[in-house]
Amino acid sequence: MNKKKILLVDDDPDFVDAVQAVVESAGYEVAVAYDGKEALEKVAGDKFDLIVLDIMMPVMDGHKACKKIKEDPATEGVPIILLTAVADHVTTTRYTHHDMLVSDAEDYLPKPVEPDELLERIERLL
C-alpha cells in the first residue's frame, strides 16, 4: 500500500524537523517547504494528500499560499491544516474564526502542536 504524502510548510527549520519526525514516525511520507512560495512550487510539482501550513512566513505567508492552492482546480481538493503561533486561549478563538473565514483551510491548529492531536487531525482529513 502507498504511503500518504504530506507537505509540511514552516519557516523555522527546527520546527519543521520536529514535526517531520512525528509525522514520519506515524507512517506518512513528508516533504518540506520553508515559505509559501516554495510550498506552491512543491505543490505544482507533486501530488500531496494533505498540507500542514504555517501562517507567519517570509516571502509568502500561509494565508496567501492557502488561497492560491484553493483557487487552483488541480489542488483545491487537497486538505490544508493551518498553523498559527498564537498560544493565548482568547486570541486563539478569535484567530480560529478569522483564519477559517479568510482562508478555506479545512482545519487549524495552534503552535506548538501536540503530536497526538496533529496525527488525529491528519487522519480525520485523509
Binding site: D14, F15, V19, A21, V22, A87, K111, P115
Partner: protein
C-alpha cells in the same frame, strides 16, 4: 503741626521783612529775605522755595517781574502778594497773573500765619493730587504691561487656542491656530466656528459644550481638522450664576505622541513574535525528542533545543542592553586598550566555532602598536558579535579576515568574510532591531536580530561608526571605526 516750609520774603521795607521772618521762623519754617526784586531773583535761581511773600511795589525790578519769573520757572511755588490798601487793584491784577493770595499792609502775625498756612495746604493738596495722578498712570502702565504679558503668553502657546462667543462665532485665536487648525487665510474672527473648522464634529463639540456647560476632551484623527493628530480640550466660559459667555478650546498636536505609541505597540508585537516563534520550535522539538526512538535523532533535538534556548537568552540579554543604552543608564568605563590585543582576544574566542566550520580566521596585526580608549567589555562584545556573524554567514571552508588601517585619527577595523553576502535591498536594514535576512541561505542560522543594532549603539557611544558593504554571494565587510587614543595616554598607561 504744618510741615516746615522754605519761605522767601521779598520787601523793600526792612520792618516787614524782619517781622515776617520772625513770625514764620517761630513756626519752624526756614525763611530767607530779599530787599528788592533782583536780590529775590538771585535767591530764586539758586534755591527752591515753597512760598514767596512778594511786595509788588519795589524800586528797579518790581514784584510783577518776579512773579512772572516764578510762574514761568517755578510753577510749584506759591506766591502771596504783599500790598498796601491803596494798591488792592494791583493785588487783583497780581492774582490774575498767578499769585495765590494776598495780604494787605498792615497785617497781624496771626493773619500772616493764616495766609501762609492756606498756601501751604493748597500746595500739599496739589502735591497729593499729583501723587494720585502719577499712581493712576503707573497703575495703568502695570495693567497695560500685564495685558501685554498675557498677550505674549497667549501668542506663544504652541497649541491652537480658539475662543468663541455664545453665538458660536470666533472672537479670538492665537497665531498657532492658523497652522495647527489649517485655517483659511482670510480673517476668521467674527466667522461662525462651523465655517472656520474643517470638520463638523469640531463645531458640534463646541456647540454642545456651550449648551451643556461641561468641558470635553476628544481627539481628531489626522486628515479631519488638519494633517495633524489633534487632541482638543473644550471648556465653556460662564459666570458663577451660569450666564454663558462662550467657550475656549485648545487643540494640542499629539502626532508625535501617537507615532511613539504606535511604534511602541509595533515593537511589543514584534518582540512577542520573536519570543514566541523560537519557543514554539523548542516545544515542538521537546515533543519530537520524547517520541523519538532513534538515539541519534533525540540527541540532535536536544542539541538544537540547547542552541535555541541559548539564543533566546542572548536575545533577552541584548534587549536589556539596548534598553539600558536607550535609557542612558549604561555606564561606559573608557580605558586605553591595545587594539590588536583586543582583537586577538575576540578572535580566540570565536576560533572554535570557525574551526567547526573549517573557516580560516586571519588576524593580521598592524605593524605599529595602536591604542583606543574604549569600554573593554562593550567593545569586545561588538567585535565578537560582528565576527560571530561573519562565521555564521560564511559557508564551510571560507575565510574571515581581520585587519586595521588608520584613517584621520580613526582606527578602522575591517572584518571581511567570504560569506553569502547581503542583498542591496536588505543592506540598509541590517542595523534595525529584529531585522534578519530570511532566505534559503540563512535558514537554520539562529540569531536574535538585535546583535547589530546593539553593536551600532555601542560603537556610536564611543564616537565611532559601524558600516557594512557587501556583494551577494561574494562576502560582506564590516568596518568599525573608533577614535585612536592619544599617544600621551599610551605613555600614561606605561607603554612606549
Amino acid at each position: 503741626m504744618p510741615e516746615p516750609l522754605h519761605i522767601l520774603v521779598v520787601d523793600d521795607e526792612k520792618v516787614i521783612r524782619d517781622g515776617c521772618a520772625r513770625v514764620l521762623s517761630g513756626q519752624e519754617h526756614r525763611v530767607d529775605t530779599a530787599p528788592d526784586g533782583s536780590a529775590a531773583l538771585d535767591l530764586l535761581k539758586t534755591g527752591i522755595f515753597d512760598i514767596v511773600l512778594l511786595d509788588l511795589m519795589m524800586p528797579e525790578v518790581d514784584g510783577f517781574e518776579v512773579l512772572e519769573w516764578i510762574k514761568r520757572n517755578r510753577p510749584d511755588t506759591r506766591v502771596i502778594v504783599i500790598t498796601g490798601f491803596a494798591t488792592v487793584q494791583k493785588a487783583v491784577e497780581a492774582m490774575k497773573c498767578g499769585a495765590f493770595d494776598f495780604v494787605g499792609k498792615p497785617f497781624t502775625p496771626d493773619y500772616l500765619r493764616i495766609v501762609v498756612r492756606r498756601a501751604a495746604e493748597n500746595r500739599s493738596l496739589l502735591n497729593e493730587t499729583e501723587r494720585l495722578r502719577q499712581e493712576k498712570v503707573s497703575d495703568l502702565y502695570t495693567i497695560a504691561q500685564e495685558q501685554s504679558r498675557l498677550k505674549t503668553v497667549f501668542n506663544c502657546i504652541e497649541g491652537a487656542v480658539l475662543v468663541t462667543n455664545r453665538e458660536g462665532k470666533v472672537v479670538l485665536h492665537n497665531p498657532a491656530a492658523v497652522g495647527v487648525l489649517d485655517l483659511a487665510s482670510k480673517p476668521v474672527v467674527g466667522q461662525p466656528v462651523s465655517r472656520v473648522l474643517r470638520h463638523p464634529d469640531a463645531a458640534n463639540m463646541i456647540k454642545n459644550v456651550t449648551n451643556d456647560l461641561t468641558a470635553v476632551t476628544r481627539e481628531f484623527e489626522p486628515g479631519t481638522l488638519s494633517p495633524l493628530h489633534l487632541r482638543a480640550c473644550c471648556a465653556p466660559v460662564h459666570t458663577a450664576t451660569g450666564k454663558i459667555f462662550g467657550s475656549v478650546t485648545v487643540f494640542e498636536d499629539v502626532t508625535t505622541q501617537k507615532q511613539v505609541e504606535q511604534l511602541k505597540s509595533e515593537f511589543v508585537s514584534m518582540l512577542a513574535h520573536e519570543l514566541r516563534a523560537p519557543l514554539a520550535a523548542i516545544e515542538q522539538m521537546i515533543h519530537a525528542a520524547r517520541s523519538s526512538t532513534a538515539e541519534e535523532r533525540r540527541a540532535h533535538f536536544l542539541n538544537r533545543i540547547r542552541e535555541r534556548t541559548r539564543s533566546l537568552l542572548q536575545m533577552i540579554e541584548n534587549l536589556l542592553n539596548l534598553s539600558r543604552l536607550d535609557a542612558g543608564s549604561t555606564a561606559f568605563t573608557l580605558e586605553p586598550a591595545r587594539g590588536d590585543q583586543l582583537l586577538a582576544e575576540v578572535v580566540e574566542l570565536i576560533r572554535p566555532r570557525a574551526d567547526d566550520k573549517h573557516i580560516r580566521l586571519v588576524h593580521v596585526p598592524a605593524e605599529e602598536q595602536w591604542w583606543v580608549r574604549v569600554d573593554h567589555e562593550q567593545i569586545c562584545g561588538v567585535f565578537t558579535n560582528v565576527l560571530d556573524n561573519a562565521v555564521k554567514y560564511t559557508p564551510d571552508g571560507g575565510e574571515v579576515n581581520i585587519s586595521m588601517v588608520k584613517k584621520g585619527g580613526l582606527a578602522v577595523v575591517r572584518i571581511a568574510d567570504t560569506g553569502i553576502g547581503i542583498s542591496p535591498e536588505d543592506l540598509p536594514n541590517i542595523f534595525d532591531r529584529f531585522f534578519r535576512v530570511k532566505s534559503g541561505a540563512t535558514r537554520g542560522i539562529t540569531g536574535s536580530g538585535l546583535g547589530l543594532s546593539l553593536a551600532k549603539r555601542i560603537v556610536e557611544a564611543h564616537r565611532g561608526r559601524i558600516e557594512a558593504e557587501s556583494q551577494p554571494g561574494r562576502g560582506t565587510t564590516f568596518k568599525i571605526s573608533l577614535p585612536l587614543a592619544m599617544s600621551q595616554e599610551s605613555v600614561r598607561a606605561g607603554q612606549p
